[in-house]
Symmetry: C2
Subunit: 596 residues, 2 copies
């Protein structure tokens, strides 16, 4: 061992001990007669002192040190004259007696500090240097602890972690697979799994009863800020369970994680139906750290989210509202102070193409209770008072109204507006956690593109037993035994109870528009396994990267991944992917054919 | 929950309790008035009894049950009349009051029993049924526990489990990579990692100090019984350590695993040099469950394994021995009873092409101390007595002698013979464990094919400091800071201390025959990282599949893998790999070009 202690553990109680430390030079302060070196390792920073008492040779050596040199230093722990209260080791220093330069370092391309001067691209290219920054390292430490505690909890609950293969077969639906040419089976390809969904269901058929796996999954999708071509799931499945059992088990896991990792006791998770989530928040992953729920001021278009017609509170007069199918509003408490300019910013915000609203109507409740609005000329004060009452608004509040001819579209626009207002009002504190289950998802959603009902979750998701009669009469209204865990507006996990009987499965395939032959071709493999005694089963999967990011308060999942890829799917540090030599392609029976 | 109890937990103390169980029908015994059903789940088997007291409807239902039907049964726990002492639940049964057939089952293609009637291929195709067999399931349970205890130990020792990417770049040396075409980077390919070697070294450069990962690795090699295209490593690396620190740390881990999983206290691991292992066992992974070490009767060819010349104990006379460079022997205690036929079998064994010996000489020590040998006509009894003495042989022992013109080749043949004799003599008990470290591996081995020295471990392995002067004068004799952990003749893990300074690394590349330009091209990426302050570091990797197989007493690693591939690299259950549709190939800019 090159050291007797780490750079994070020495305190005043250790004064007088002779120790050896090893680590990297964080900084060198040369004060003429004195030289101080901050030595850093994974565990902390300790000050090395080269005083007037040190030998000339030692002081010369210290004089040559540069940033990120690797040192081994032996000396005696002493109380510091000038203490640094910001770090745990700040009360002591090492009076160095022996110094061994284990390795020199070129000048790093950016500063290795809490706030680095390196841009994203540079830090990605030299990720091994970026990882030396404590803020980045701490994310990986958190991730380690998180994964370990997941395993500890599930192990205690009798789950077996079972590794499923990475070289599998192509799956019939969903995103694109990455594929792997097989040399031993010329012209044939493996696929990398998008999730072990089929395999975990087979493990239930195999009688494994309680399975989990922390496992890499792969999707060849065009990437966004929060997507990676490879990502990690906490994948779980249980047999002989109903939805309630799954919710209880994994609520327990989440509470365990919050308790042991964040030291937070989270309350029992409230459950919100998908319909309520859509109606009140315009999202199936509502951020419930704050209220500001939607109020429907008009709704002529009953749907799965809201089955009742709401008569408009506005008499005819304003063409936009008159022609709207849906009018919805939120009440931003105390924001009547918003200036015209701020309102214009909000209007621009909702009119951005990604959101797509046509405009924004506002109404301020003044100190005297009167309502001043951008549509004053169309409505009487009485009507505006009805609005105020409906919104439960108080003097000083700001009411923001969106409308349109498609209720679901307006809800989604209003959702963005609500989140924007939440951010502006400081209601989305990263250190506050609001968790819930969203349940009762619809089985299907209509696809304009495919002109058919599509499975919202996946085609093995079980309908709610009480809704099974509706499969024949009104399939679009059938609810599934499907559930998502949502924290702070992020879907951290989701799953469903699976269908385990052939008859129901057949029915579901019919509704999805598959002939028995097509169903057999696409899903025959799993259906055949199910013939040999499939138990009732269900499960869920968490996105580990997202869950950890949330715990770490990160904006992107990249920051909790040791070696992430960029938006083009490249690892700029490894310079992957790259070109193959012709001989390698030949061996795989492949030829690269550039597209026009 | 479909059950209140599992099929493995009820005992006499539960008699009188009303319980609900769920599981699979293991067997049905219809005795006319009485029907008994063995119900199986992951936790055990419990007998369901349908007695004369049961309703007609219930008894009819029970009469229709088939093997592997999935049941939910409610009833009262009762003491059995005829107890089964072989299973923990054998003293009780459930007097069934309610029976719910959760799913029917087709007749399974093989029996789901301790010893199945299904052949390998059939059981691989229906792996989800094979996994229902307790003997197979227990291997996965052991694997889960093994991996969990590895994590617990390493977590306690301050290791961080850090996930490294699966989509990486192609590595310059070693076995073939599996590759993954990138759609977003046309014509370019990722590679799947053969091991995270480079990445874990970068994590040390990054200051992570103690890293581990239980991780899938991939090699596109032609497969043997004990190889899989994807396999799992316990991959570990530490900074600021010397070889001794690594040996101590991972000896501790192994002892922890033996203790908590097998309940065995293994003694401190002996250390054997590679030279001694080759000289005395003809293998760098000696099976030390038994002795029968080699005795050198002649050695004219000093090498890294044995540096001294041994004069032949045999005077000239027998041409084969006279011309041999090396003569080695083992003494099989008490085996003088071997018949001529048995000796012939052994001769055939060593003459098989995989072993390649030209013949086998034997000598029996008779009750009176005289030695009778197959080469009696060439040697006097005095010479044979010298042999007896040299072999430390007693009356009743059998001496087996091999010779040839290449010491290393003969040692390897003698190794096979020793293992064969060990097996025949019952000395290789699967329930006995003999662990050791093999250390001081040579840095290089000569490649006849490449006509140059090749790195025995990998080109970043550090030479022993005391051997560094030999790099210039006699590189083939330089020993490395490399080590393997060997248990019962199986290499379960191995690693090395890495080179961390540029000068030594440069020297090593020279000896391997790389010009500085070639070295830069092949390894520049890691060498560049090392410029920014690489700490001294080292590590090792265990083959999880092998290690678990050893604990489970399995002949093949396949039996501890949930969904293994066959010798053609196929998953016959998933029917992977498979052909892609043309559209998918087009999107990847690829064309399949069958070879002539």
């Amino acid at each position: 061992m090159y050291r007797t202690r780490t750079c994070g553990e020495l305190r005043l109680t250790n004064v007088g001990e002779r120790v050896t430390l090893a680590g990297w030079v964080q900084s060198v302060h040369n004060l003429g007669a004195l030289t101080f070196v901050d030595l850093r390792d994974r565990y902390g920073i300790t000050q090395l002192a080269f005083t007037e008492d040190a030998s000339e040779e030692l002081r010369q050596k210290a004089g040559k040190l540069g940033r990120e040199y690797v040192l081994q230093a032996t000396g005696v722990v002493a109380e510091r004259y000038s203490k640094n209260k910001n770090i745990p080791t700040g009360e002591i220093e090492i009076l160095v007696e022996e110094l061994n330069i284990l390795n020199e370092s070129a000048i790093p391309p950016f500063t290795i500090e809490e706030n680095s001067d390196g841009g994203d691209d540079l830090r990605m290219k030299y990720r091994y240097l970026d990882l030396r920054r404590p803020v980045v390292r701490q994310n990986l430490e958190l991730r380690h602890k998180f994964a370990f505690e997941v395993r500890r909890y599930l192990d205690e609950q009798g789950f077996l972690e079972i590794e499923t293969p990475v070289l599998v077969n192509s799956t019939p639906e969903g995103a694109r697979d990455f594929v792997v040419p097989s040399r031993m089976n010329p012209g044939q390809f493996y696929a990398l799994p998008q999730s072990p969904q089929t395999l975990k269901q087979l493990l239930m058929v195999a009688g494994m009863d309680r399975y989990f796996q922390i496992v890499k999954c792969f999707r060849d999708e065009d990437l966004r800020a929060d997507r990676q071509p490879e990502f990690t799931q906490i994948d779980c499945e249980m047999s002989f369970v109903e939805q309630e059992d799954i919710l209880q088990m994994f609520e327990g896991m989440s509470r365990h994680l919050f308790k042991v990792i964040k030291g937070i006791d989270i309350p029992a998770l409230p459950r919100m139906t998908w319909a309520d989530a859509m109606k009140n928040y315009g999202s199936d992953k509502p951020d419930t750290r704050f209220g500001m729920e939607f109020v429907e001021l008009k709704n002529n278009q009953p749907d799965n989210a809201s089955r009742e017609i709401v008569e408009s509170i506005f008499p005819d007069g304003f063409g936009v509202f008159d022609g709207a199918v849906y009018i919805g509003a939120i009440c931003a408490e105390g924001q009547a102070v918003y200036t015209r300019k701020q309102i214009d910013q909000l209007t621009d915000f909702v009119k951005r193409p990604q959101i797509g609203a046509k405009g924004l109507v506002y109404a301020r409740v003044e100190e005297d209770g009167n309502v001043k609005s951008s549509v004053d000329k169309f409505y009487t004060q009485e009507t505006l008072q009805v609005l105020k009452q409906k919104m439960n608004a108080k003097p000083g509040d700001l009411i923001l109204i969106l409308s349109g001819d498609d209720a679901m579209k307006v809800r989604k626009q209003l959702c963005e507006l609500r989140l924007e207002m939440g951010s502006r009002m400081g209601l989305r504190d990263k250190n506050k956690f609001s968790c819930l289950w969203v349940i009762d998802f619809p089985m299907y959603e209509w696809s304009d593109e495919e002109q058919r009902l599509m499975a919202m979750h996946h085609p093995f998701t079980s309908p709610k037993p009480e809704d099974i009669p509706l499969l024949d009469t009104d399939p679009a209204s059938v609810r599934a035994n499907a559930y998502d865990m949502v924290i702070n507006g992020v879907e951290v996990g989701g799953g469903s109870i699976r269908i385990h009987d052939a008859k129901t499965q057949q029915k579901i395939f019919e509704i999805l528009g598959f002939t028995p032959e097509q169903a057999q071709q696409k899903f025959g493999f799993l259906m055949n396994a199910f013939k040999f005694g499939a138990p009732p089963h269900g499960g869920l999967a968490y996105g580990l990267d997202r869950f950890v990011s949330l715990f770490a308060g990160l904006d992107s999942i990249r920051d909790c991944i040791a070696f992430p890829k960029n938006n083009s799917g490249r690892d700029v540090m490894l310079d992957a992917p790259g070109f193959l030599e012709q001989a390698q392609l030949d061996e795989l029976n492949l030829q690269v054919v550039p597209q026009e």
